[in-house]
């Protein structure tokens, strides 16, 4: 029978799904086309009725039976309908991770500006049905900021990157029921600006043969070229053999479902059913079917018939699907900073408190969950202690998760220090730092006898990260950046000496006047005055300025040290010496730090 023609009822349903940027389903539309295809070359079918029964619940088809009229040989009849569905039969998932080097539970979702971001795209397709899905073709557009594209892994089929079109095509595979396939693409991402980037469109098409979304199970009745009649033949006098004869005159296979023959009695009265059959027999073209009964009658029996037949049919069905994924938007994280000193310059050799203000601004398009500032303070600076470092986020004082460290952890101005301020987990305290928002650090330092000939660079390095953390966004000053200005205040120390006769012979009064005539305080002022070898030190006024004595070329050096002399400070020293001979004059020496 298989070579004979059978009417085809075809169901072709199309699902079109739109996924959002995170692979969530945002929209799905499913529609179907129900067709009756008369594959006959010569026989029309008519009185066609498509029977759907209660299998149409998921569709918008209102009637259980759809009249399809007549369908000429080789012709078809179509009707369309919509299907309600909550999800496609194939699930598409894309995980776009901008930093596969750093392992985290959740993927990284932003590019670090100025860095080569190790991108990993993991695309997974899962067959959610109990049937096979084939004819799968997935096209993934690779955005222009990605280079060094490699197919790292593909579990089935083939995946290739076409440099000409910038598309990865994954095809030539099927997915068995409830199974999934994955392709992993790796690339290097480097962005030139901070605008959010598209992660690339993705479209997948597929076919689910012998599947429907509607669960329609159609059947059909129709009429076609078919002969039926009763032949009455007298076998003996007044004895008749009546034969019901059916013949399929079409080139379609016809199924005979019901054959009934009724005899009208000669003497009147109710009809008598003589043939009552439901053969359900399929008749190939030109096949016949008979059924007989015998009856006694003087005249030829009068019979009527009731025949039900229909061309047989076969149902074909499939689901054709398309999933279109909206490209994920990948923002960029970048920071900028400013650092100021107030006052920007300090007087040399002085101790001056200086306010340091550092502002770190989110200059990208991604939210920041961590910000770290590493500020280097040179020597001759007394650093703050951590409790005096103030941090503000969006102008408000920040008291969330924060680490402040000063290395080494002391306030010794003789060594350089590094101040580290790290704000973590902003999302759970004051919220992540949004684009254009700023965090500020304020602290004070004390410049400690800054020397005018020396430079005091205070370079800074700022880091920021997202949640989950990936590569750090970074910005730093030059190694010799952010110099603390030192205003040169001239040092000017005057040393005057007078030698006068004392009250006795051979006694002299040496008067020294040391004066700071400069603009700044001087420290460790060392005064040395020489006494000839024939003279000896007797006394000094004021008495608390007792000098040190040291042998020197041709005499003795008297020495004094003054720890600090402020501008206009004056030290008067009267030294009494006694001896013989001429008192040679040599000028006092004064040196200081």
């Amino acid at each position: 029978m298989s070579e004979h023609k059978t009417v085809v009822i075809d169901i072709e349903e199309t699902e079109k799904a739109q996924l959002d940027e995170h692979s969530g389903l945002s929209e799905i539309e499913v529609s179907g086309v129900l067709s009756v295809k008369n594959v006959s070359e010569k026989s029309r079918i008519w009185n066609v009725r498509v029977l759907l029964g209660d299998t149409r619940d998921r569709t918008n088809i209102g009637e259980e039976t759809i009249p399809a009229g007549e369908v000429d040989a080789g012709g078809r009849w179509d009707t369309t309908y919509d299907v309600s569905a909550k999800a496609p039969i194939l699930t598409l998932t894309e995980v776009f991770d901008t930093c596969e080097e750093v392992k985290t539970e959740e993927p990284h979702w932003a590019y670090a500006f100025g860095k080569d971001n190790p991108v990993k795209m993991t695309i997974t397709l899962k067959n959610e049905t109990d049937g096979q899905i084939d004819n799968i073709v997935l096209n993934k557009t690779i955005p222009s900021e990605l280079t060094e594209i490699t197919i790292d892994e593909v579990t089935s089929g083939t995946a290739e990157f076409d440099e000409g079109t910038g598309v990865v095509v994954w095809k030539d595979f099927v997915i068995y029921p409830q199974e999934e396939s994955t392709v992993v693409i790796k690339a290097s991402g480097r962005v030139k600006d901070v605008d959010a980037k598209g992660a690339g469109e993705m479209v997948v098409t597929y076919r689910g043969e012998e599947q429907t979304r509607s669960v329609l199970a159609p059947d059909m009745t129709a009429l076609t070229e078919f002969l039926a009649g009763i032949e009455s033949a007298e076998t003996e006098p007044n004895s008749w053999e009546c034969t019901l004869e059916c013949s399929n005159e079409s080139d379609l296979v016809v199924r005979l479902d019901k054959a009934e023959v009724y005899l009208e009695p000669e003497d009147g009265g109710d009809k008598e059913k003589m043939i009552d059959e439901a053969p359900a027999v399929e008749l190939a073209p030109n096949d016949e079917w008979r059924s007989s009964f015998e009856v006694t009658s003087k005249s030829p029996p009068k019979c009527t018939q009731e025949i039900i037949y229909t061309p047989t049919n076969v149902v074909t069905k499939r689901v054709l699907g398309t999933i279109d994924k909206t490209p994920q938007l990948v923002p960029v994280y970048r920071i900028e900073y400013s650092k100021t000193f107030d006052p920007p310059k300090v007087a040399s050799f002085d101790k001056t408190p200086v306010e340091v203000t550092i502002e770190v601004t989110n200059a990208g398009s991604a939210k920041l969950n961590e910000v770290q500032v590493l500020d280097n303070l040179p020597d001759d600076i007394m650093p703050p202690t951590s409790e005096y470092v103030e941090v503000f986020v969006r102008g408000d004082k920040y008291d969330g998760e924060m680490e402040i460290a000063i290395d080494p952890d002391d306030q010794d101005p003789d060594s350089p220090h590094t101040l580290s301020v790290k704000l973590s987990n902003l999302k759970d305290s004051v919220g992540e730092l949004e684009p254009d928002e700023t965090m500020r650090i304020n602290y004070s330092i004390m410049t400690w006898k800054s020397r005018p000939e020396k430079e005091y660079p205070s370079p800074i390095r700022c880091l920021a990260n997202t949640y989950p953390p990936g590569l750090e966004a970074e910005i730093a000053s030059d190694e010799d950046g952010h110099k603390i200005g030192v205003v040169y205040k001239k040092r000017r120390i005057s040393a005057k000496k007078g030698i006068n006769k004392g009250s006795e012979t051979g006694e002299y009064i040496v008067q020294l006047v040391i004066e700071n005539k400069g603009e700044v305080t001087v420290e460790n002022v060392r005064v040395t005055d020489w006494i000839p070898e024939d003279f000896e030190f007797v006394s000094v006024e004021p008495e608390d300025l007792e000098p040190s004595q040291a042998a020197a070329d041709g005499g003795t050096n008297l020495g004094w040290i003054f720890e600090r002399m402020n501008p206009e400070d004056k030290k008067k020293i009267r030294v009494t010496v006694r001896g013989e001979g001429e008192y040679e004059r040599r000028e006092p020496e004064v040196i200081s730090d």
């Binding site: 002085d350 101790k351 001056t352 408190p353 007394m382 703050p384 202690t385 005096y388 306030q411 004070s444 004390m446 305080t521 720890e563 600090r564 402020n566 501008p567 206009e568 400070d569």
Partner: protein, 231 residues
């Protein structure tokens, strides 16, 4: 025990069980800061300006107190009718001593912020009530005070011809007194900064901003433990 009373601007009174001294009872914008009938034993003006001498003549007359100052200041109060026998000229580094009080003056300078003209201002190192107090007066330079031991440093912080905040802080860092008191500020931010910097950079010194009328009591408890209480 020493009681330090603040009248505002640069005016303080130091009182011990034995004696008392009033510092710079000045007149500011025509207003006195110390009552004319304030009872005191010694009055010191660190210079001859009205913001230092103020109503010292009247107070001295009412209280029959000594007036001490440099030559110009003494001359000024003399012209105002002060009793000559109650006047004493302070000489640079020459201590003035009476029972319970030793004042050593040091010649410093102040500057007129408008003309830039410099004039003498005395910085005072005062020993009273078993305490040493360095009172810088209206000075723009510190002189030897960085090397003088003190339990209390009282320094201007307002700039404009006297110490700015940074110099007051620097002095406290070098001296390391138990208490640093700012005075003569022109902006409320200045004493705050003084405290902030002292807290951070002069770890042995406690900054104390006194309000007008407040009294600070300091004493050596058990002979060697410095204690203070602010009213």
């Amino acid at each position: 025990m020493l009681r330090v009373t603040y009248f505002g601007k640069t005016s303080f009174a130091l009182q011990s069980d034995e004696t008392s001294v009033l510092l710079n009872p000045g007149i500011w914008d025509g207003d006195t800061v110390v009552p004319d009938d304030y009872d005191i034993r010694v009055i010191v003006a660190t210079n001859d300006h009205d913001d230092a001498v103020g109503n010292a003549t009247t107070i001295a007359a009412n209280a029959k107190a000594w007036f001490l100052g440099n030559e110009l200041a003494v001359e000024k109060v003399k012209e105002q009718g002060a009793k000559p026998w109650l006047l004493h000229v302070l000489k640079n580094e020459a201590p003035y001593e009476i029972p319970g009080l030793k004042i050593t003056p040091f010649s410093l300078q102040r500057e007129d912020p408008e003309s830039g003209k410099k004039s003498e201002n005395l910085g005072l190192h005062i020993e009273i009530g078993k305490m040493k107090v360095s009172y810088i007066g209206d000075s723009m330079v510190r002189g030897p005070f960085g090397a003088l031991e003190a339990n209390i440093v009282i320094a201007p912080v307002g700039g404009d011809g006297v110490f700015p905040v940074k110099d007051a802080v620097s002095l406290c860092i070098d001296v390391g007194p138990q208490i640093g008191i700012p005075m003569r500020w022109t902006d409320d931010d200045q004493p705050k900064k003084f405290c902030k910097y002292i807290d951070q950079f002069a770890r042995n010194t406690m900054p104390l901003v006194m309000k007008e009328g407040q009294v600070l009591e300091v004493q050596w408890a058990a002979g060697n433990e410095f204690k203070h209480e602010l009213s």
